[in-house]
């Protein structure tokens, strides 16, 4: 039996108005500008761009404003918008070794070539609320060193690489183009490039939890943060109409090279292995979590036991996407009136049978 469910149109339209009014808040307070969000909420912006899988500060700021600061909703808005834009092509692989570094630290070598550069990090703050920020007149001006950093900071892992103590990282013959999950469905087993794309788009909180589980014992993981670097990287494309490569701008990226112990196998000598994380903007927590999960997903290829959730491709990769996850969890609040009527009548029948049985036994 079908029951016509209509009406609610006016209620929905009025809910839009309420949403807009609550977004705006107290109208005696100045409205938030996109420039303010871009300038002062840069880490929220980076997360929206990374999980929304679209690097555009203006669109991400708009999405955050529209979503009243709900990052997952802003990610959804950005993902929806990107479907309206044509794909113009692929960039050349980003050269993170040529990054103009603003932060670079290593947890493995104190005297790393080029030095430890802390950059704009909260790591050494005491996490005390700063009541000096309650006003609106802060104007910090950072100290400038006499000399800028070298144009290229050497990669920390090259130190181990030169001794052959870490697995080399080279493309396969012919440097094949990777699969693109925005064009093809996720299939298993997924190769590393596909996994990295999935993890890059994945929810930071979910990856953080999985990464944490590997450290707590749910995987063979003995990680060290070999190198974390953050800064600007050139974007290069090769447009058809030109036929040569041009630099079209730059993006801020955070890269994490995780080093993991590896006892060796029948064919491979004992050495360090790698986990890799790369994230838009200043996304250090995301890049580190991604690197840990990248490594744990390599368990099978390295001949390690696969027993922990973070080592299981299907479990990990099917649940990283917060737009899908949020949609499926939240769809439960949409009308399920007919499904529920069926369940209700089933339970009533079973209950009647149960009660009758109890009566017989009494």
């Amino acid at each position: 039996m079908y029951v016509a469910v209509k009406g609610g149109e006016t209620a929905i339209l009025n809910s839009y108005e309420l949403l807009a009014a609550d977004r705006r808040g107290d109208q005696d307070t100045p409205e938030l500008t996109l420039a303010q969000i871009k300038g002062q909420m840069r880490l929220a912006l980076a997360r929206v761009m990374q999980e929304g899988s679209l690097y555009d500060e203006d669109l991400a700021a708009l999405a955050l404003k529209q979503a009243s600061g709900d990052v997952t909703e802003a990610v959804f808005l950005l993902r929806a918008f990107r479907t309206t834009l044509p794909r113009l092509g692929y960039s050349l692989p980003l050269d993170t070794a040529a990054m103009r570094v603003r932060r670079r630290v290593s947890g493995t070598f104190k005297d790393v070539p080029g030095g430890q550069v802390l950059g704009p990090t909260p790591d050494y703050t005491q996490r005390l609320l700063d009541f000096g920020l309650t006003g609106s007149d802060s104007a910090p001006s950072p100290t400038l060193a006499e000399q800028p950093l070298p144009e290229r900071l050497p990669c920390v892992l090259d130190v181990l690489g030169s001794e052959g103590l870490i697995e080399p990282e080279r493309p396969a013959d012919g440097d094949p183009a990777p699969k693109d999950l925005t064009r093809e469905p996720l299939m298993f087993p997924a190769d590393r490039a596909t996994r990295l794309q999935n993890l890059a788009r994945g929810d930071e909180g979910y990856l953080l939890g999985l990464a944490y589980s590997t450290q707590r014992g749910y995987a063979e993981s003995h990680p060290f943060a070999g190198e974390i670097r953050m800064g600007e990287v050139a974007v290069t494309v090769c447009p058809e109409e030109l036929g040569f490569e041009i630099e079209i701008g730059e993006v801020t990226l955070t890269e994490c090279q995780m080093i993991n112990q590896f006892a060796g196998s029948r064919t491979a000598p004992p050495q360090f292995t790698r986990g890799y994380g790369l994230s838009f903007g200043e996304g250090e927590r995301k890049a580190m979590a991604m690197a840990l999960v990248d490594r744990s997903l390599r368990a099978a290829e390295l001949g390690e036991d696969v027993h922990a959730p973070a080592q299981q491709q299907e479990f990990v990769l099917y649940h990283t996407d917060n737009v899908e996850a949020s949609g499926f969890v939240q769809h439960l609040k949409l009308p399920h009136y007919v499904d529920f009527q069926a369940e209700l009548s089933l339970i009533r029948t079973l209950r009647k049978q149960f009660d009758a049985q109890q009566g017989d036994e009494a």
């Binding site: 669109l59 030095g115 800028p148 990777p178 925005t182 794309q197 040569f244 993006v251």
Partner: protein, 149 residues
């Protein structure tokens, strides 16, 4: 007059792409007002470029995520100018395409290189040096404490 080489064109296209659009508009204003009569072959169009990274920085390519990109092509003073710039600012792509066309004109090339591209490049270098000097100030200078003796 020798013809323009690809590295020369790559050089100015890079500077045009890396200059903030407002600054570019200001720097190009005199040259553009002297050369009206352009014709758009492709009006500014914003689309996506998939950014690729490499596993471990040097290994297999993977798709990191997309970036918005705006491109435009123009015919001006007998030359065809192209531009691709990251972001969704249509005016930025227009200005860069117009400049690319003018810079290819033998009659204007030297003046524009000296009067527009060189100063914009100097500003870019200066901006970057300031950012890098601020980062350099947060470089850790370890010192060793000697015990005993």
């Amino acid at each position: 007059m020798t013809s323009i080489t690809i590295p020369q064109r790559q050089h100015w296209m890079r500077i045009l792409a890396l200059t903030p659009p407002e600054r570019l508009a200001e720097a190009l204003a005199p040259a553009l007002s002297a050369h009206p009569g352009h014709h758009w072959l492709r009006r500014p169009e914003t689309g996506l470029v998939m950014l690729r990274g490499r596993a471990g920085g040097t290994g297999a390519q993977f798709n990191l995520g997309e970036a918005s990109v705006t491109r435009a092509s123009v015919s001006l003073a007998g030359q065809i100018g192209h531009a691709w710039v990251r972001g969704s600012n249509a005016r930025h792509a227009e200005l860069a395409a117009l400049a690319d066309a003018l810079l290819q004109c033998p009659a204007h090339h030297a003046d524009l290189m000296a009067g527009v591209i060189a100063p914009l490049e100097a500003e870019l270098v200066e901006r970057r040096a300031t950012v890098s000097r601020a980062a350099a100030a947060s470089k850790v200078e370890f010192f060793t404490m000697v015990r005993g003796e």
